[in-house]
Amino acid sequence: MTIISRRGVYLPSHKKETLRKPIEAAGLPDRLAVPLFIYGETDNPCVPSVCEDDRVRRYDTVGVFASGFHAVAPADGTVREVREIRGLPYLLLEVDEEQGEPSPLPSADPKTVLEKEIFEMANRAGVTAYGRPLSEVLDTYKKKGVTCLWADAICEQPYSTARIELLRTRGDEVAAGLRLAARAVGAQAAGVLISAFCARGLPEQVDGLAVEKVLGKYPVQERAREELAQSQGELLDAGALLALYEAVALGKGCVEALVTVNGNCVAAPKNIWVTNGTPVNDLFDVCGLTEEPSCFLLGDALTGRLADRQEPVALGVDTVLAFVTDRIKRQACINCGRCMERCPRKLYPTEIARALEAGEDEHLLRLHPQYCTGCGVCSYVCPVGINLTAKTKRAARRVRRLLEEEELAEARRSLPNAAPEDKGNAVPALGAFARDDLFDPVGCEAEEEQVEFWKKGSPSSKGKKKSKAKETRKPASKQPVKKTAAAERKDGKGTAKGKKAGKGEKK
């Protein structure tokens, strides 16, 4: 498949450093921070089903989401606490020194397993794809009537090679997972999609499935998806397919992922198997550092977000990078138009940024920033180093909020008994979007505060800096773990406003 477009960019490649290199395992750290949320759906965290000091075994359920998706314990150990970090819940697990043989989850013969069972097994094993539960993704594809399913091993960004290496080393299992997913969706055909720039050494077929090469400028994955959609085709993450096969055929929970570890200060870049919740620091113990990095990234160079040294690597992250970078000296825009020329969505990022800063909402609505995919091309090509992607995403959130408010106002106006003030044309001022900013794939520009993931003195806290965040320790007595604030928000209780009101009442 060749995607010809004037838009987009050819990126520099650093894949050679990790391609066709031996894959290692990071090993289990002393402590794991298991996310009780899914990256793509941070507003719906799960309620933990374990208590402090509870013993858990590998693949045990530690929380169930409203959709029936399970959060799975990645190792044998003891639950220490559930802590909310930057508004999101993590389960801190002290890992046993000796790991027992895990009791497998319910499994089935991949050839005879029923469609419904595939969905259930994926949920029980905690398999995710593109930041959502795999079962939800499959369900969406099924409703769309997808007829051809493609394993996504494109790896288009400069450093990531994890999916290609999965295909190279465990291609048969990925193909088996793809067949299972295709059966669940009702697709009649399946294949594997890889980037033409990384195709060297890969077979033409994987377990009887055709390997198609995609050639084009970054972001080629998004365009490939659009091309495929015209013939009712869809992509599915190769890592998720492997996890699906392991869940169905072997009864394994999804607790590990293949992660590319690279960067300009990494001594031995490689792909390593990382357990869910392993601190970033532990990955660099395996790969080594040539000098102290100035930043760590979860995700690849164009769309990754900054991470702390102690931050856990959750499932869904396929690249972890360490960089020694100089701060880019930003200058004023020179209106060269390169951002617009390259934007795959034909947006006008510099004008969007200007309208956002000037507070010109009407103009912003006409510029359609909500169609931004966050690919980072505009910032990449900007000759004066402006972070246009972050600005465009901020504008997109503003526009979405404006549109929602407009819809709401329209609905109010249409009510027969609407109050006169509701019939006005006022658009309310916009609030902050702290949570959105946190999980913005391109990060936010403001300086963020350092957060502490581990208690002082714990083996994994080495190299940690002094925390600004206040730690709220809970009593060590065995009691059910309280719902986190995020979970309470989900239930409609304990909102920030509610808490403030409560305080006010006490006074």
Binding site: P12, C333, I334, N335, C336, L367, H368, G376
Partner: protein, 327 residues
């Protein structure tokens, strides 16, 4: 760790300085060509134009913000552009006045590089034309390469030449041939007479993405088309169209002013439209105006429409992207 660095963590590595340097490099090639025909005088004029504009930028930066400005090289390029539109025998103060005007009046007070509604070099050249028309169009007679260089001092004894544009204004065919006009053997501005070299520079600048090819071609096509449809010469529409292209600094203005991506529209069809409009305005001024070199006036006028299309009428053009995009 202080988190001030943001994605993307790799950059293309093209700086704003590099864009201006590309333009300067192309202009230095034209100065070198001018040296071959006229000696050191046009080179000094070009360098003076660049240096005066650069000095004005530095001085204003230091006076207003007490620090050096971010991109002084772009100012040097504006000054050099103004100088290249002057005759090789111009007095030395002329490029200085033009360069200082371009930066101190038309660029910095109106928003700086890329944000001023008018191209500073076009404004500088227009200012000189209005104020010092006599010196602006006093071209020396064309010379053979490396012979009879112009004097560095007084140029009053230099034989005057007649540019094809001024001859055409009278409705008469120029005495020089089209080939001579394309290779710089006709009277004209320092940089504007070497049409073939300018074309080569344009290719370089297009490859470096410093100029828009669509703007350049639409402007030149417009000039030719109007010259073809309403010929001023009796030699036929094709020759008339070609002479319109090769005279009056049309090619130079197309490459260095109309094509400049910082001042052109960011939308393809708007660029095409405005390129044609610039050509129409330029030709109307040639037909009915008082001056023989008017292309930069047309650029100055049409520049004013760019923000209108790019900022205020975006809904007319932005929908294409929006329709194609899928949430």
């Amino acid at each position: 760790m202080t988190r001030t660095k943001v994605a993307p963590f790799v950059r293309q590595g093209v700086s704003s300085m590099a864009i201006s340097m590309d333009v300067l490099l192309a202009q230095l090639v034209l100065l070198a060509m001018s040296y071959l025909y006229y000696g050191w005088r046009p080179v000094l004029l070009g360098l003076l134009g660049g240096a005066s504009s650069l000095s004005a930028q530095l001085l204003i930066g230091l006076l207003l913000t007490h620090r050096l400005p971010e991109r002084p090289v772009s100012a040097a390029a504006y000054g050099m552009t103004v100088a290249l539109l002057l005759p090789p025998s111009a007095p030395y103060w002329l490029p200085v006045a033009g360069g200082v005007f371009a930066t101190a009046v038309a660029s910095v007070p109106l928003g700086g590089e890329g944000h001023s509604p008018f191209h500073p070099a076009a404004a500088g050249a227009s200012f000189l034309t209005i104020c010092f028309a006599g010196q602006m169009f006093a071209y020396p007679a064309p010379r053979a390469p490396m012979t009879n260089f112009l004097p560095l001092g007084d140029t009053s004894a230099v034989p005057a030449g007649t540019s094809p544009a001024s001859v055409m204004k009278e409705g008469v065919s120029p005495l020089t041939t089209l080939t001579e006009a394309a290779t710089g053997q006709a009277a004209g501005a320092i940089g504007a007479v070497f049409v073939l070299v300018i074309a080569a520079c344009a290719l370089y600048l297009v490859a470096r993405r410093a100029v828009y090819l669509s703007s350049i071609l639409s402007f030149l096509a417009g000039i030719y088309l109007i010259g073809y449809l309403w010929p001023r010469l009796s030699t036929g529409p094709i020759t008339s169209g070609l002479w319109e292209l090769l005279s009056g600094s049309a090619v130079f203005v197309a490459v260095f002013l109309v094509g400049d991506r910082r001042y052109a529209s960011k939308r393809f069809w708007v660029r095409i439209g405005l390129g044609l409009l610039t050509a129409a305005v330029c030709m109307a001024m040639r037909y009915y105006g008082a001056y023989e070199q008017v292309a930069f006036f047309a650029v100055l006028l049409v520049n004013a429409f760019v923000p209108l299309f790019d900022r205020r009428l975006t809904h007319l053009f932005g929908k294409g992207g929006a329709l194609r995009a899928k949430e």
